[in-house]
């Protein structure tokens, strides 16, 4: 009984950590620009596919591939901001969000042309048997994903709360005009947020590909689930996105395990709706914060 429960829990953690990483990506751009970047799922796909390209196709060593993947993803984030968001800096927020949808479609098309429609996979970061805890199995790669998620949260927390650049980025979201008045280069901060969010997405993609495989059109599903995670925890709160991601992942797994696997997506979404009815700002964001939001 315990074994089965633990197995459901581990399965939920595996899936949840993926959602959490995507959720954090949403938050970074949201915190700096109030934009919801719907191309976030594509960043994850780019991470996975580029990592495959560097390690399996070009046969580069693991660390070099990882660095190259992160750099390329950052570059794509930068290009996306400079080419699509910057030219209409003062446009309506809703319009910018629509542009991110367009970018996601374009990116998906480019990925399809370059990688085809097949799924890709490469070996896990560490080879070896899955760990067994009270008879329940947890894959080593899952631990990597959870560890990387944790590391990302800590680094982002330090970045946004302890460094001048991070605080400047937060300031841009709250009030761009005021930020400009105190001498912050708003445009550069927005660019930085896109780079950062692309990098976080790509790191997530690199970590999950050995578990879940990666193909060019996985982005939208990841974006929807990651967005749910971010909303559940409260948009803008990284701690919230992580906990939201794990809650959704575990809920899905428990529903599949104890009720029926056909219902798992439905139950998770119903619970998300319930949370939003009673706490519209999400679990970790207060009502006052909600009023400060533009979107």
């Amino acid at each position: 009984m315990l074994t089965v429960f633990l197995q459901f829990l581990f399965s939920g953690l595996t899936v949840g950590s993926v959602y959490a990483l995507v959720g954090i990506g949403f938050n970074i751009i949201y915190n700096a620009t109030s934009i919801i970047n719907l191309a976030q799922g594509e960043f994850v796909v780019i991470g996975g596919l580029l990592m495959w390209f560097f390690t399996e196709s070009l046969k580069l060593p693991f660390l070099l591939s990882a660095v190259l993947t992160i750099l390329s993803a950052g570059l794509i984030g930068l290009l996306m901001e400079r080419l699509t968001i910057k030219p209409l800096k003062n446009a309506d927020l809703l319009l910018m969000i629509m542009i991110t949808i367009a970018v996601s479609i374009v990116l998906r098309g480019i990925l399809m042309f370059n990688f085809g429609k097949d799924p890709y996979v490469y070996p896990p970061f560490t080879e070896g048997e899955p760990l067994s805890i009270y008879g329940a199995i947890i894959q080593q790669q899952t631990l990597w994903v959870i560890g990387i998620t944790g590391l990302c949260i800590i680094l982002l927390f330090l970045f946004f709360n302890k460094t001048i650049v991070g605080k400047a980025m937060l300031a841009c979201a709250v009030n761009p005009t005021a930020a400009k008045l105190v001498g912050i280069n708003v445009s550069r901060m927005v660019m930085l947020s896109f780079i950062l969010s692309a990098v976080v997405g790509a790191i997530g993609g690199m970590a999950i590909t050995p578990i879940s495989l990666m193909e060019y059109d996985k982005g939208p599903m990841l974006a929807v689930k990651g967005f749910c995670a971010a909303i559940m925890g409260g948009l803008g709160s990284n701690r919230g996105a992580v906990i939201g991601g794990f809650i959704i992942g575990i809920l899905e797994s428990m529903t599949a395990g104890y009720i029926h696997s056909g219902l798992k997506d439905a139950v998770a979404l119903v619970i998300l709706l319930l949370i939003l009815f009673f706490k519209p700002a999400g679990i970790f964001v207060s009502k006052t914060m909600l009023q400060l939001r533009k979107f």
Binding site: P119, Y120, V121, L213, K218, S253
Partner: protein, 386 residues
């Protein structure tokens, strides 16, 4: 001077008559057939090899002098994996291009949408999708044929094999798409006939990344084997989870498993996975005297040489459809009704990539469970089980 002119005239006449002969050889009307494939969209993994196959066959047939001297013209339309687009494209092919036959579409949903249209237009359709309702009930499918094997036949092949191994309790896990729904239905439908009990029935979404939970439930239900029914990355993830859990019971896959890519992606986890596969994927393992051997070899090698990828079962469905039509055109001529009658009555012991076809007025597919071989993955390669 006069002589020169006379010579000149002779040369002119000769040149002209050669020219006319040439024109005559090519003046024969091309036979136009339409093809609807899901080249883009969700089912593009089906439509892509089908389109490639159609282009390759058209070239080969015309290089060999066409059909009774008539060049074959295959007009390919992309349905974008969408029923509405399939209907629109079919109407275009019928009304604007006046095609004799339509090949495809790639998915069951699109094929079903075309049934009434083809019946009204009195034009044969040879679908490249597997669903049983495409050709059943056969009375209402006068003009409709299909080349892929029935899902039921794949299920029968698995159940027959399981019976021999003494397995009678199975857990099934299916993907929540049309393919998985059809498989789930077939698995339930055939189970009583073979005395098999389905003790656990699980599902997952096409983009899910972990199926450990479902497999854990199957393991706890006391099943003696797992049957997974899906196409796409899901079947690889199930295989990996199955191995990680060390379930201790065999894993069976559907006929969607038949691609070397899956073995590559699943790596060591694929060892021991059993599936009913058409002979196309194991063409090099079947005996030389098998009636399908020669054509499978030629098709696979031609396709691989040209497109640098394996044709897979799906390209084979297009191959069978087009070759059947080419034969019907050759023997029965360019008449819709004659082609239909030829397909229904003369495609007998007809070796194709999908199996040996025996069409009849009661069966517009003509394949049964003998179209499949039970194949196990051994050392990263297929091995036919006896």
């Amino acid at each position: 001077m006069k002589k020169v002119r006379k010579n000149f005239l002779v040369v002119c006449v000769v040149v002209l008559s050669i020219f006319l002969m040439f024109v005559n050889a090519y003046a024969k009307e091309p036979y136009k057939i339409g093809a609807l494939f899901a080249v883009t969209g969700a089912a593009s993994f089906l439509g892509e090899p089908e389109k490639n196959t159609a282009i390759m066959l058209q070239e080969q047939i015309n290089k060999d002098g066409g059909i009774n001297g008539h060049p074959l013209e295959i007009i390919i339309e992309d349905t974008k994996s969408d029923e509405t687009q399939a209907v629109l494209s079919a109407k275009k092919l019928l009304e604007k291009d006046n095609v004799l036959v339509i090949i495809g579409p790639s998915t069951t949903g699109e094929s079903m949408a075309l049934v009434p249209i083809m019946n009204n237009a009195k034009t044969p359709l040879i679908s490249c999708a597997a669903g049983a309702p495409i050709t059943q009930p056969v009375k209402e499918r006068y003009w409709i044929f299909k080349t892929p094997q029935y899902d039921l036949s794949a299920v029968e092949a698995i159940y027959t094999y399981m019976k021999n191994k003494g397995i009678d309790k199975v857990g099934i896990i299916t993907i929540s798409t049309g393919f998985g729904d059809a498989g789930k239905k077939a698995l339930h439908e055939m189970a009583p006939k073979y005395g098999i009990t389905i003790v656990s029935d699980e599902r997952y979404g096409p983009k899910d990344s972990d199926m450990t939970t479902q497999l854990t439930k199957i393991k706890a239900s006391g099943a003696q084997a797992v049957i997974n029914w899906s196409v796409g990355p899901g079947q690889v993830i199930v295989t990996k989870n199955w191995q990680a859990l060390k379930m201790g019971i065999p894993l069976y896959q559907s006929h969607g498993w038949g691609s070397k890519k899956n073995i590559e992606l699943a790596g060591k986890a694929a060892e021991g996975v059993i599936a009913p596969l058409g002979r196309l994927v194991v063409w090099d393992k079947i005996p030389d005297k098998h009636p399908q051997k020669a054509l499978l070899k030629k098709y696979t090698q031609d396709y691989e040489a040209r497109y640098k990828s394996e044709p897979g079962t799906f390209g084979g469905h297009a191959y069978d459809s087009i070759m059947m039509v080419a034969e019907a055109l050759k023997k029965a001529g360019p008449d819709k009704k004659m082609i239909r009658d030829y397909l229904e009555t003369k495609i007998q012991k007809w070796p194709g990539t999908g199996g040996i076809f025996n069409m009849s007025p009661g069966d517009h597919c003509g394949l049964d469970k003998d179209a499949f071989e039970m194949v196990v993955v051994n050392n990263g390669d297929w091995e036919i089980l006896k």
